[in-house]
């Protein structure tokens, strides 16, 4: 007995700590690898090679880039609000990584098995907005400010539909717990009864992590780099990895909520999970290669005039069916 903990407790704490570390490192590693995957896939679709020189298949390009970015001058513009400028990129990393805590990769591999898992996720993604707004505000740069302004509007709006689209899934599973939601899909994946919700969630997720075509906050052609225009070195690196963490996160969520998570025949659960999530990660990249960016006001109009009614109708119908069945 140490500090009132039994041997069993210590082992379980140790195991949780290891699991946490593995998931944390794993997700960051996958996010970093995504950079390579994205560049190679875009290259493939755009009739060019992409990075293919460093290491086998250019795999070590990411490592080289990371080393470069670590050794870059850590520069803060003299006109920036220093404290906020430094905190901003940390927030996006923190919230994205925290969100991974509730994702059930397999029945046993979850950091915390929260009863309000979905709410926790939504909370984390809401907090992520601060990162972008802080960055845009603290940079004291007009492009950054415009980017931040767009982000605030975009993320707050799309959060509404994201939350609403998940309600259907919650109603079907009868729980906010992600593990329970996966188990509830044994008979049929949620994507079938909840197809509109899936589409809305995917689009809203895209908007949340501001990936193309919803990359208005950092629209290169308009705002150079938007909210992170003034960032360089590792602080920029954190935004960059944060974006890819976002892709991984949303792909994991889509897998968990709509595609039965680890469920699948023959192969081990984790492989199924990885395959499904990997598919969506690639889909994000394809989306970037193949879509046009809507204008800011068009994006908002689409959200409020199209997605919102569909989401509400979906919740209403799902609710009615659930009530009728019980």
């Amino acid at each position: 007995m140490i500090f009132g903990l039994s041997e069993h407790d210590i082992i379980s704490i140790g195991l949780t700590a290891i699991r946490t570390l593995v998931i944390l490192l794993g997700s960051v590693l996958v996010a970093a690898m995504m950079i390579w995957v994205e560049r190679r896939l875009l290259g493939l679709w755009q009739d060019r090679y992409g990075p293919n020189r460093v290491g086998p298949f250019g795999l070590l390009q990411v490592v080289a880039d990371m080393i470069k970015i670590f050794f870059k001058e850590d520069w803060i513009p003299p006109f920036a609000d220093k404290a906020v400028f430094v905190v901003a990129p940390a927030i996006i990393m923190l919230t994205s990584m925290l969100a991974f805590a509730v994702i059930p990769f397999t029945p046993t591999w979850t950091v915390v098995n929260l009863n309000v898992g979905i709410l926790f996720l939504l909370a984390m993604s809401s907090l992520g907005v601060y990162s972008v707004i802080f960055a845009g505000w603290a940079s004291d740069n007009k492009y950054a400010l415009l980017g931040a302004m767009r982000t605030a509007a975009q993320m707050i709006s799309y959060e509404v539909f994201m939350g609403l689209s998940l309600l259907g899934v919650v109603l079907l599973a009868g729980s906010f717990n992600l593990g329970v939601i996966v188990e509830s899909q044994r008979g049929m994946w949620n994507v079938i009864p909840q197809f509109p919700a899936f589409v809305i969630f995917f689009l809203a997720g895209c908007a949340e992590i501001h990936r193309a075509p919803f990359d208005l906050p950092e629209a290169e052609q308009e705002l150079t780099s938007g909210y992170h225009t003034e960032y360089s070195g590792m602080k920029f690196g954190m935004f960059f990895v944060g974006e890819y963490l976002g892709i991984v996160l949303i792909s994991c969520l889509v897998t968990t909520l709509f595609f039965g998570g680890w469920l699948g025949p023959w192969l081990p659960g984790f492989v199924w999970f990885a395959l499904k999530a990997g598919f969506f990660m690639c889909f994000f990249i394809l989306l970037r290669a193949a879509t046009v960016r809507p204008r800011y006001d068009q994006l908002m109009a689409f959200g409020w005039k199209v997605l919102l009614p569909i989401a509400i109708i979906n919740v209403a119908i799902t609710g009615a069916i659930v009530v009728a069945q019980s």
Partner: protein
């Protein structure tokens, strides 16, 4: 010429016999000297009431006449302001000149008659120091605000070595930077209105979507554009000044780089202009080969437009596909000319080389490759809902606005004006080709996009016709001033040897003349106005480029849009900064 007589009659009936002083020019264009105090009346009359009405201010420039020796039958003038007007239906041009003396270098502004006189007059002030009375904002346009002197004056040095060495020390850097600081008051802009405080956003000269070094300052209310001030001159290389110290022949490579996506298309008006003056009739083979190469460059330039335009609205992939198509086109161009983007292939009186063996196979390969690709792009881009959302009714202007602002090329045809110089007044044998002139009707970004896509298809058809009907024959005309001269007989008689030696070492001497030639370039109407003082070098070369006029219109058509719309508009105009600044 009949139309000269006719317009002269109209003008003298209206303004009296002695107001006008006609001048005979080598290009046969009606050219009249008008006293300074009558010029606005004459311009106004020509725009509205004459037949034909010259609706477009095509060009406005000046000549420093102080060092010119051969000016037969021309009024005394130190500086001459030249107005070049254009009527589209029927195609007719007219040139008006105003003589100014050195102690009183001022003319009335034409901005009240044509809005696009604004930039042209600023340019003349910048380059020659001619003041335009009543101009709303007469300040430097191409040169830096801190520049001393007026570069196109004959007493201004042309070479960097004639200046003191430039040292960009921190002090000077600060001075230059301060000079570029944007002050809304200078442009008559409010900093706030009611309870709105405007944001002034500086875009460029280094910005991903300004296509080169173009700067535009936006007056924003939120993201809505209330006003815009374009600032050009960052790509100014003094192409017109350089013409005054290059031989007629060695200037050809410089023309390639004016519209740097246009390649040989830029050489065409320059060499055709000189051929017209010298009376050189180029062989049929030359004409067809020139047309073919020009159309290749129209395709590469339009592909660049298409790729960058859709990239500007957020579609990142097509530009890469179009770059591979452009490479295929450049492969053909390289096989024929020996160079890719700036071949300097046309010569006064012909081509630099004959077409190589098997050129037609390469051309056919390109056509076979490109046609399906173009169809695929069209299917992918034109019906795309988001492309339509971002382009339809964005940056629209009417036919009248287009003509008032000197818009030509695809930008003009997108409004539905059926004017393509290749059809309206064919040159270099365009009358022998079958092709359509695609038109739009809204004059918005979408129409500019679809018109250019169809133009590429038509260009492919023209190239195919060139390939099938390439005449046999020499690639250079047999004329003493063909450059470089034909060498066959040089070793046989001494006269030809001397002539050959002189034309190669000094370059040809062009007789004293004035002439301009217009073509339908990749971006719009492009023309060269050359003045020779019977020297081996040009006395004055004026390059009228379409992009200059197109850029001037941006503030008007971006008003009320969002920043994202401006990016689409800039992309849809399809300009090249080198073409704007020269």
């Amino acid at each position: 010429m009949l139309d000269t007589v006719d317009i002269q009659r109209q003008l003298s009936e209206r303004f009296g016999q002695d107001t006008l002083h006609p001048q005979i020019t080598a290009d046969g264009l009606p050219t009249f000297w008008v006293p300074r105090d009558r010029i606005l009346e004459v311009l106004g009359f020509l725009r509205q009431n004459s037949a034909p009405a010259y609706r477009m201010l095509y060009d406005l420039t000046a000549i420093d006449e102080r060092a010119r020796e051969h000016r037969p039958n021309q009024p005394i003038s130190d500086f001459t302001v030249v107005y070049h007007l254009l009527s589209l239906f029927p195609v007719a041009e007219i040139r008006l000149k105003v003589a100014l003396l050195e102690d009183d270098l001022s003319a009335p502004t034409a901005t009240g008659i044509w809005p696009n006189a604004n930039w042209y007059e600023r340019e003349v002030w910048d380059m020659f120091g001619v003041t335009f009375n009543g101009h709303p904002n007469l300040r430097r346009i191409l040169m830096p605000p801190t520049w001393k002197g007026h570069p196109l004056r004959k007493d201004h040095s042309a070479r960097a070595t004639e200046f003191e060495p430039l040292h960009l020390d921190p002090k000077r850097q600060d001075i230059e930077e301060d000079a570029l600081q944007f002050k809304p008051e200078d442009w008559g802009m409010e900093r706030e209105s009611g309870d709105t405080e405007f944001m002034f956003l500086n875009m460029g000269p280094n910005h991903p979507s300004v296509h080169g070094v173009f700067r535009i300052v936006l007056q924003l209310d939120g993201e809505e554009i209330r006003g815009a001030v374009p600032d050009i001159g960052y790509h100014h290389r003094g192409a017109e000044k350089m013409a005054e110290r290059q031989s007629w022949h060695t200037y050809i490579p410089y023309t390639d780089r004016v519209d740097y996506l246009g390649g040989v298309m830029n050489e065409l008006p320059y060499v055709m202009n000189l051929e017209k003056v010298l009376g050189i009739e180029v062989p049929e083979r030359v004409k067809v080969a020139r047309v073919m190469l020009c159309e290749f460059f129209r395709i590469t330039s339009h592909l660049m437009f298409l790729g960058t335009y859709v990239q500007d609205i957020g579609f990142m992939s097509p530009i890469f596909w179009m770059f591979s198509d452009r490479q295929k086109a450049y492969d053909v161009i390289e096989a024929i000319t020996g160079f890719r983007m700036h071949p300097a292939f046309f010569r006064i009186g012909g081509l630099s080389l004959d077409l190589p063996n098997g050129w037609d196979r390469k051309v056919k390969e390109f056509i076979d490759w490109f046609r399906p690709r173009l169809n695929e792009y069209e299917r992918m881009i034109v019906p795309n809902g988001l492309v339509i959302e971002r382009s339809r009714h964005i940056g629209a202007y009417s036919q009248d606005e287009a003509i008032d602002w000197g818009i030509t090329g695809a930008g003009l045809r997108a409004t539905g004006v059926n004017f393509d110089l290749r059809k309206a007044r064919p040159y270099s044998g365009y009358e022998n080709f079958e092709f359509d002139v695609p038109l739009g009707h809204n004059g918005d970004c979408m129409d500019r996009l679809t018109v250019r896509i169809e133009e590429m298809r038509q260009s492919t058809n023209i190239i195919e016709q060139c390939m099938q009907n390439m005449p046999e024959g020499p690639y250079k005309s047999d004329h003493p001033l063909t450059t470089p001269p034909v060498k066959e007989r040089t070793m046989h008689d001494i006269e030809t040897l001397i002539a050959h030696f002189l034309t190669v070492s000094w370059g040809p001497v062009i007789p004293a003349m004035e002439s301009s030639t217009m073509i339908e370039g990749t971006k719009g109407l492009n023309s060269y106005y050359s003045i020779s003082d019977k020297h081996t070098m040009s006395y004055r070369t004026r390059i009228r480029t379409p992009s200059f006029a197109h850029l001037q219109q941006i503030p008007l058509i971006s008003q009320g849009g969002l920043v994202a719309d401006l990016v689409a508009i800039i992309g849809s105009i399809d300009f090249v900064m080198a073409d704007v600044d020269r």
